[in-house]
């Protein structure tokens, strides 16, 4: 997994609440068997008309936002389907940091598996930072310090320490879990003993 350390970008502000993963990446693009190449279809129905032509006034179709690495958006972002294609599409487009007042649980977890940092801020701060999108000015995000710097201001954000470590170091959590193979093995033996019906073999 790619690391997330810090980032500087003009943010894109998409003030829609309850953006679901169907909206982030519609089902016709879930037929892929790869993780890459989904960026061009990110927010497909907002970005393209029925003939497949770019909708020119949609923010991500405009400069400089088409090169943005930060997405500021409405609450409950990523609700609905568990499809990891949603963070894959964001990542492939270039978005590696999201700022919202809340996220759906599955989407939130999926971000961390892909080197994307989802930041939670309160609504007032989001409105304040979104001004930098309107003014097309850069903001900075620093994960080690847990800070967003905008203009002469800065704000701290909270993040789970273990998730932070995984992002900063780009850790493979399967490898980490496999280090506990002995514990898993003894747990499996306990299950075979106490709940023998689990292993149906």
């Amino acid at each position: 997994m790619q690391k997330f350390i810090s980032l500087k970008s003009i943010p894109t502000y998409l003030p829609i609440v309850n953006i679901d993963t169907d909206m982030i990446i519609p089902k016709q693009f879930l037929k892929t068997i790869k993780r890459t190449g989904l960026g061009k279809n990110l927010f497909f129905e907002l970005r393209y008309d029925e003939k497949g032509k770019e909708i020119s006034d949609f923010i991500l179709n405009k400069k400089p936002f088409c090169n943005s690495n930060i997405l500021i958006t409405g609450k409950n972002f990523g609700c609905g389907s568990s499809r990891e294609h949603a963070p894959w599409a964001l990542l492939d487009f270039g978005i590696t940091c999201i700022i919202s007042s809340s996220y759906a649980d599955i989407f939130y977890n999926n971000c961390f598996k892909n080197g994307i940092l989802p930041i939670v801020l309160n609504e007032d701060k989001i409105k304040e930072i979104s001004e930098y999108s309107n003014r097309k000015e850069e903001i900075s995000v620093n994960l080690a310090d847990q800070k967003i710097i905008y203009g002469n201001n800065e704000i701290s954000f909270e993040i789970d320490p273990f998730k932070k470590k995984c992002l900063l170091e780009g850790l493979d959590d399967i490898a980490l879990s496999l280090e506990k193979s002995d514990k898993i093995k003894s747990f499996e033996n306990k299950v075979k003993n106490q709940r023998p019906w689990i292993f149906n073999d």
Binding site: I16, V17, N18, D20, D22, M23, P26, K27, Q28, L30, K31, T32, I33, K34, R35, E45, E50, G74, K75, N76, C79, G80, S81, S82, R83, E84, P87, S102, Y103, A104, D105, I106, N109, N110, K113, N114, D160, P161, F162, D172, D173, I174, L176, S177, L178, K180, S181, K183, I184, F187, E188, V191, R195, P196, W197, I198, F199, N200, D201
Partner: protein, 467 residues
């Protein structure tokens, strides 16, 4: 200290816990399908990893499969590749698969319980958010992403943090024509689509206990639409009777021992819930959604909201956006909403009791001439059972299409989809923009309500049609 059912299942599955509360949780049951698994297998191959416990994973193709004649295979090339990739991966890693032409094939959340793969007290995961369905059996069941699918395949565990406990009590008796779908829509309307975020919901109360196993599944299924990853219900005799004799259920002495263990799966008196909400069953009326979020519910006697009466600006713009997408004017009566299509099926309402409920309303009646209506059974076994009961004939006689099992128009990944601006009364679980096809307009309803809408040609009150 008293523990909730969720606490107990959590504690029973802890392989390891870090000081910060990050836990490694053992996974008893893993379901996979063709859409969210290929990249996970690819990850295993590229890291030279094996599937740790192949017998604890069960595979079925459901999202992409055609619901029309399957004898010629899948015509869509990408769908075909995905289904074939699942077959190849299962063969390579030794995982049991119900292929497209197996009569046990069906929607993963219908197949799991049907086979007895789903069991009380287990941790069940699947790369699909409607995994919450299995919580009806008193299991901790939740949807995961593809990276987590890979993690489960490689380690038979998941890295998790404990969620909060949220109890929803429903007491009383449901009025005639009101179903568990109406209960869960009412709940989502009440708590909102983010109401359960960070929580596991336990459904309790005498109404919940009175529900059949399949009705409970409908409620747990849509837990994710209320923002919670998992919803569960204390298992009881109904659950044990349902599971007894299923192909993957425990047998003989092991069965007796399992039931003994399962009988202790409950929330202790006095256990702590971080959140609690209560509803009275008698007050629940048949529900419909009007907008593009499952929380946008009104009763069939109600009307579409008017954004001008909403003071919160975010909510106001959200209502305006939804109304525009749905092609509805403020204050329209629910019963005045004309529909083009009816879809009966999905992991929410594609089981035999759902089909019986719809068939009961449709018996000796015809669908409105302008309506295109289809039934997609949740599995091959549901289809077979329905045909034995003659339900297929009732549907066909009233003008419905009788299809092969799969996810179908719930998410419109296969050929079954709405055209732009087409309006559908659907027994599925999501009314998001574009969910059933670009520009398509979805109204979520119960199977009985879908049948009533098919007959009337507009959303209508199922209570009028009780035979």
């Amino acid at each position: 200290m008293p523990h909730t059912l969720y606490d107990k299942i959590w504690n029973d599955h802890l392989v390891h816990e870090q000081d910060d509360g990050t836990a490694l949780l053992f996974v008893d049951r893993h379901l996979i399908h063709e859409v969210t698994s290929p990249q996970a297998f690819e990850g295993l191959r590229s890291s030279n990893r094996k599937v740790r416990q192949p017998s604890l994973t069960l595979a079925v193709a459901d999202h992409n499969v055609p619901t029309t004649d399957r004898s010629k295979g899948i015509s869509d090339q990408e769908s075909k590749i995905q289904v074939e990739t699942l077959e190849a991966n299962c063969k390579e890693f030794g995982i049991k698969l119900f292929g497209m032409n197996d009569k046990r094939q069906g929607i993963v959340h219908v197949t799991g319980p049907e086979q007895g793969f789903t069991q009380p007290g287990t941790v069940i995961v699947c790369g699909d958010s409607h995994t919450a369905t299995h919580g009806a059996f008193g299991s901790l069941a939740f949807g995961i992403g593809t990276s987590e699918v890979e993690h489960v395949l490689a380690t038979q565990t998941l890295v998790q943090k404990k969620a909060k406990n949220f109890r929803i009590n429903v007491n009383g008796k449901l009025p005639l024509g009101v179903t568990s779908k109406d209960v869960i829509l009412q709940i989502i309307g009440k708590i909102g689509t983010a109401g359960g975020t960070g929580c596991v919901i336990e459904y309790a109360g005498d109404l919940i206990r009175s529900l059949s196993v399949e009705q409970r599944m409908t409620i747990c299924n849509m837990t994710i639409e209320g923002g919670a990853r998992a919803g569960l219900i204390e298992p009881d005799e109904k659950i044990f009777n349902y599971l007894k004799g299923r192909p993957m259920s425990p047998k003989g002495e092991t069965w007796d021992k399992a039931v003994e263990v399962w009988s202790n799966l409950n929330s202790d008196n006095g256990s702590h819930f971080d959140k609690e909400v209560s509803l009275t069953a008698e007050e629940i009326i048949p529900m419909v959604t009007w907008g593009t979020s499952p929380q946008d519910v009104i009763t069939i006697e109600g009307k579409v909201p008017n954004p001008n009466t909403e003071k919160d600006l975010d909510k106001k713009s959200s209502i305006e956006r939804s109304l525009k997408y749905m092609g509805l004017k403020p204050d329209t009566l629910a019963k005045d909403i004309k529909i083009d299509k009816v879809f009966i099926g999905s992991c929410t309402n594609g089981r035999i009791e759902d089909l019986r409920e719809a068939a009961k309303i449709l018996k000796n009646k015809k669908k409105a001439s302008h309506v295109h209506a289809m039934v997609v059974p949740g599995s091959g076994l549901v289809k077979q059972q329905a045909e034995q009961e003659g339900l297929d004939k009732i549907f066909i006689k009233s003008g419905f299409e009788w299809r092969e099992p799969g996810c179908s128009m719930c998410l419109a990944m296969n050929a079954d989809k709405l055209k732009p601006e087409e309006r559908c009364a659907s027994t599925s679980n999501r009314n998001f923009e574009g969910r059933q096809g670009r520009g398509g307009r979805t109204h979520l309803v119960s199977p009985g309500m879908a049948a009533a809408a098919a007959i009337a040609g507009n959303l209508d009150d199922v209570r009028k049609y009780q035979n």
